[in-house]
Subunit: 281 residues, 2 copies
């Protein structure tokens, strides 16, 4: 595995492959790799000749009161995981290399990103869209892999890649969960053990929404009420939002006809947790 | 020459060149080609293996009260010019192909584009940045050619290409002028012959600013005053702005030390005309 730490070295590596017809997969990450990332890397390894994992804790996607400075950084462990999984290039650029002085371009996808996480975290999705566009332009992958856990992010990136004709196939891989249903996330480590015991309520709420749908509920109000009841059963959980949406546009649905995505965000203490469930009837 | 009218056909054409090492030049235009465009095409022809001219009257970069619907459209004449100049591909996609239903990505470069034209034409530069990003992603040229006449646009595109690591060399070619100094522009055709006779005042004002600088003036106020005097000598001209700026950031300068760009916009009747002069001491 090659560890590449600069934009110029990555570009040079990529250019050398231009005439070789190598099929390239990209797994963009912020590091602190866990089994969810590993599943993305394995999916890439199975379908691509060369796998690039990018590792960049992107300051643009953190709000001023968010956890940028304490976000876990563990390059050695991440590199070991990548090596063990047969990654070809671990691209871990510096902040200055990605955002040199004078940097000022912003990529946004307002329609898909203004609601839900976008409302809770102003500027977050513009940060994601901007850095992903850059990574796509640098690595020029044929396939890019994202986790379903960040559903709205994945929907936004699909839209962005189509809109800008980036010519990249976006694969969204299933969320990896702990045995109690909690979606893996680097932010789970912020939870105390008592808080961690309360965390399964989030996925339980989504399952309750899914069950209501299977039992015949069609109105979003009823489905949301089923989810809400579960969340309010857990005193440690504070609800941020519950939504029943169109899986592509993320516009809220009043009634579910064929497919929907249930989105949920809660806070436990100061830790925000999000999860989702995609439902096709 | 191939006339390509769809995004998918252009992508297929481009992909076939991937492994050939062909050096590609792109000249993005809105059609109504004149000698200014011809100079860009010739510059591309001299330095590239394959030259692509794109022709797309981009609705996103026109304001609601601007001239989108009456902007000159003359595909046959444009194709003839391209053929005569040895263009390899004329890419003239439809509006629906570039902006299919659901399109919603926006690219902006606020720092460079908020002033001057950006202030006079809200949304204009976001429209330009978005379509240029798309064209760059589709054509993946090695070199892209822009005219200096739209100075702020060229500065924004330089910034955009660097920021998003598009890996494209941006060439800004000198403005082509009529013998009386008027910069060529498809919009000159909107002028009546009496208005056309008043149009040289714009470049005359820039020359006066340049002359003031050469004569030793350093303060932006004095240089602007020299330009202003010329504009106000022409009763048909209404001043929009005169600016003395940093050539890269387009921030206004108080004093000129080494280099500057003079930007000017006027209206003659309902026609807006812009021009500029780059000065290096």
């Amino acid at each position: 595995m090659r560890l590449i730490r600069s934009v110029s070295a990555l570009s040079a590596w990529r250019r050398r492959l231009d005439r070789e017809g190598v099929f390239i997969g990209l797994v963009p990450t912020m590091g602190a790799l866990h089994a969810g990332h590993r599943a993305l890397i394995r999916a890439a390894r199975l379908s691509c000749d060369a796998v690039v994992v990018s590792l960049f804790v992107n300051p643009l996607q953190f709000g001023p009161r968010e956890d940028f400075s304490r976000y876990p950084r563990q390059l050695r462990a991440d590199a070991a995981l990548c090596r063990a999984e047969g990654v070809d290039v671990l691209f871990a650029p510096s902040r200055e290399d990605i955002y040199p002085a004078g940097f000022s371009t912003v990529v946004t996808v307002p329609a898909v990103s203004r609601r839900w996480e976008g409302e809770s975290r102003p500027g977050h999705f513009a940060g994601v869209a901007t850095v992903v566009t850059k990574l796509m332009a640098l690595v020029r992958p044929h396939l890019a892999f994202f986790g379903q856990k960040d559903y709205q992010q994945a929907a936004m990136i699909r839209r962005l890649v189509a809109d800008l004709d980036l010519g990249i196939n976006v694969r969204v891989c299933p969320t990896v969960r702990d045995p109690d249903g909690v979606a893996l996330s680097s932010r789970n480590h912020y939870l105390t053990s008592a808080q961690r015991r309360a965390a399964p309520v989030l996925y339980a709420a989504l399952r309750a929404g899914g069950a209501a749908l299977l039992a015949g509920a069609r109105s979003a109000v009823r489905i949301r009420r089923a989810m809400q009841r579960v969340v309010s059963s857990e005193p440690k959980a504070r609800l941020e939002y519950l939504a029943v949406c169109d899986p592509e546009t993320l516009e809220p649905l009043r009634r579910v006809t064929d497919k929907a995505v249930l989105l949920a965000a809660i806070r436990i203490g100061r830790v925000r947790l999000i999860d989702n469930m995609l439902i096709k009837r």
